[in-house]
Amino acid sequence: MESYLSMRNISKTFSSTGLKANDNVNLEVRKGEIHALVGENGAGKTTLMNILYGIEQPDTGTIMLSGKEIMITNPLAANKAGIGMVHQHFKLVNEFTVAQNVVLGTEPMKGAFFFDNRKAEADVAAVIEKNRFHISPEMKISEISVGQMQQVEIIKMLYRKAELLILDEPTSVLTEQEIQRLFKTLRELIKQGKTIIIITHKLAEVKDISDRITVMRKGRVISVKDTADVDESEISRMMVGKSVVFDFDKGVDGCRDAVMSLENVTIKKKRQGRPILDGISFEASTCEIIGITGVAGNGLTELEDVIAGLERISSGRVYHNDQDITNITPKALRDRGLAYVPTDRLKRGSSLETSVKENLILTTHHDFMNSGGVFDEVKINEHSKRLISEYLIDGHADVPIGTLSGGNIQKVILARELEMVKDFVLFSEPTWGLDIASSEFIYEKMLEMRARGVAVILISSNIDEILALADTVIVMYRGRIVAKKASGPELTREVIGEYMLGLKDDYSTDDDCSSDNDHSKNDFKGEDN
């Protein structure tokens, strides 16, 4: 079958790092297919797609589209050629509405000078209608959920009449249900004659959605296969050289003493009708991983902040070892031994311009003083050297942490936090965007903590992760706990999914339930039509 897109002999070396990101790569994509580009982090997938989208220029190689060689010098040229890309990290202007974000750069005009906002909204509404998205064009980005933000990114490209759509790790921030929605949308787009390239390293999804697969490793193409011809472990082998399956032991019985407990924790903000957190109560106990999940925008972030002491609560109590620690400062909490691996590892978890060494001593720098009150460089160097080898961090102690790969940054954070663990640790989205090997490393550490008797709180929107690790699963919906269940065979992703979407609720009166469901701008309204 004739190739729709063919990228030939693409090579790219980054001058700043000397890294050869793409080494003579060939990619063939057929019209009307969903083509999965898989590989571990750093395999060169994103670079290849950035070249296709005109963000990077290749050192060598040619790009042919519908049999014609094209030059793609910038994203505008890519748009013109009918290529659109949805980035892993959304590129949206928070202050603008959905419609405004979509039309940015190709605004509909009223007369020669004026931007026609009404027409923008109408045009975007038409695109939304046609592709059956569920989002309102006049809402501001700051008001919508992560899943909806991704829809906006896709709408942006459809509005630009993209025929070939590139999606970079589109599912990394989505819930199971949102992923299914996305896939439905993608299939819909294929029906309309579009072509899609999807970058991912989640094997189940590859199997589920794609027609063909190109596997990359270390800047080269390893293999091109029809999806039907391979199974997950085979893909995985091609990606990393070995097969990976997550299957961990559950926690030991007994040894369950409450370490940290929340009682009726509530956050109310002025001018917001519904509390952001509403009567949250649970206990994190020793020898246990407690998994908290939910769709983004339902209170996970706030709960993370509350546990970490970064957000004040309006009412309720928080206890640590039976001592009231409600609304104490993050510093006081740290002094009590809170170890915490945050969701936002780039903004919160690390200081990008600071050296790895200095990042490693954030929470413990008081311990590195010599008698004169001055930093003991020798001690600090030994400390960082030890952690770098212990946590398999690929990077030098003296370079800014921002120059490390995402997985290595996460390992630095992990090393720092786990070094100071006393009796409880909080992980939030610990494997977000990481490759399999790094994720596995983190899971091992987490289990190691549990084995040591530490109370582990795992906040994650990744259901697989929750199911694989958590001994107790808590599901949040609209700021409330809607389910708290011990793990077991009957707790499947489907069950959790129903709770996440508010379809089931173990803790509410009927009144609450009905009022929950008629929320007009609900993302998932009319889900199954």
């Binding site: 050296s355 060494k357 200095e358 003296d398």
Partner: protein
């Protein structure tokens, strides 16, 4: 941390580099102390002893009539003598730097005499004079007595201000087109300084009150010497408060007052210089200090070695260095003849010495 080590190294190297320069410069200086760089061009065809004059402007020449005249007067004198040369140096507005800059000038050893114009200059140069006992200073618009290296000439600014104040008083009590019923005159100053507070403002008010003791003075400060728009706004608010004659002692900010006076048909009094032409029809009275003449004479004396150092001279209007400009066509146009006559009487009585206005202790 790396980058800091790097910068630390840079700092150390820089200091190492600078050290020999420092040592070298010091050594050289000791070898030939006080060795000035001799002006090579001055050497040929000299019959008389060469005479080098430094004209030091404590501030900026441009925009200040007195400093302009200082430079002009010195130039006139120097031009007459081929053996004489001069160099103008401006000290800028930061008084804290004056002494240092003055020292730099004197330390060159190039200049036989330093001339400057400002009541504060004797004080600025006092310490310096001790360090350089051969240096001679001449100060105009300043007073110091008994210092062997210094000669000084002080204008009786009370007289000038009194003349202007008297005219202002006449105008505000008159029925001239711009005058109103309020017995109010005003003055806009850039900043407050001793000569202003002790001679000029009191003299101005005294003159006005000699016309009518009920006249009051509206006194406002711009805050700097250059914000002409602010001066204009102040003038507007004064006019709104009933002022019809405004004295301006605010240097570069004065055009703001001129503009407002023009718009609102009010009158301006101007010190130290015949400046009627700067705002015809608006400046109703101008005093003048004949600094050009004074400086030219003094410098000539200096070139001929005739200046008596150690003296302080107070110059009154009868000495011919202070004057009210009463013959300018602009003045004659604006002021009614009767008023001119009345004003002339007072001016004459001061010039003749029958009305004595003492210079206060500065």
């Amino acid at each position: 941390m790396k980058s800091n080590k790097k910068l630390l190294a840079a700092a150390v190297i820089f200091l190492l580099l600078i050290t020999p320069v420092l040592v070298f410069a010091g050594g050289q200086q000791e070898a030939e102390p006080e060795a000035p760089m001799v002006e090579k061009e001055e050497a040929p065809e000299k019959k008389a002893e060469p005479f080098a004059l430094a004209v030091v402007v404590p501030g900026v020449t441009a925009g200040s009539p007195l400093y302009e005249q200082l430079v002009e007067g010195a130039q006139q004198a120097v031009d007459k003598y081929p053996n004489a040369s001069m160099k103008v140096v401006e000290l800028g507005f930061n008084q804290a730097e004056w002494a240092e800059k003055m020292t730099s000038i004197v330390a060159t050893g190039k200049y036989d005499v330093v001339i400057s114009s400002n009541p504060s200059m004797p004080f600025v140069c006092m310490e310096l004079a001790g360090q350089f006992p051969d240096q001679k200073f001449i100060f105009v618009d300043a007073f110091i007595e008994g210092h062997p290296q210094m000669a000084s000439f002080l204008y009786n600014q009370v007289e000038q201000s009194y003349m202007l104040g008297y005219l202002a008083g006449l105008i505000t009590t008159s029925d001239m087109t711009g005058a109103n019923a309020d017995l109010k005159i005003g003055i806009v100053v850039a900043q407050e300084y001793p000569a202003l507070n002790k001679m000029m403002v009191p003299g101005f008010l005294q003159g006005a009150q000699a016309v009518n003791a009920d006249i009051t003075l509206d006194y406002r400060v711009v805050g700097n010497w250059y914000d002409a728009n602010k001066a204009g706004e102040l003038a507007k608010s004064m006019v709104d408060a009933g002022v019809d004659v405004i004295g301006v002692i605010c240097g570069g900010a004065a055009p703001g007052v001129f503009e407002v006076a023009k718009e609102r048909n009010k009158y301006v009094m101007y010190w130290d210089d015949n400046s009627y032409a700067k705002a015809p029809g608006v400046i109703a009275g101008c005093g003048a200090l004949h600094q050009t003449k004074l400086v030219s004479e003094v410098v000539e004396d200096a070139i001929n070695g005739k200046v008596k150092f150690g003296t302080g001279v107070k110059l009154n209007s009868r000495d011919g260095y202070i004057e009210f400009i009463g013959d300018d066509p602009n003045y004659l146009d604006i002021i009614p003849a009767a008023m001119q006559a009345e004003h002339k009487k007072v001016v004459d009585s001061i010039m003749s010495g029958s009305l004595v206005l003492e210079v206060p202790e500065l």
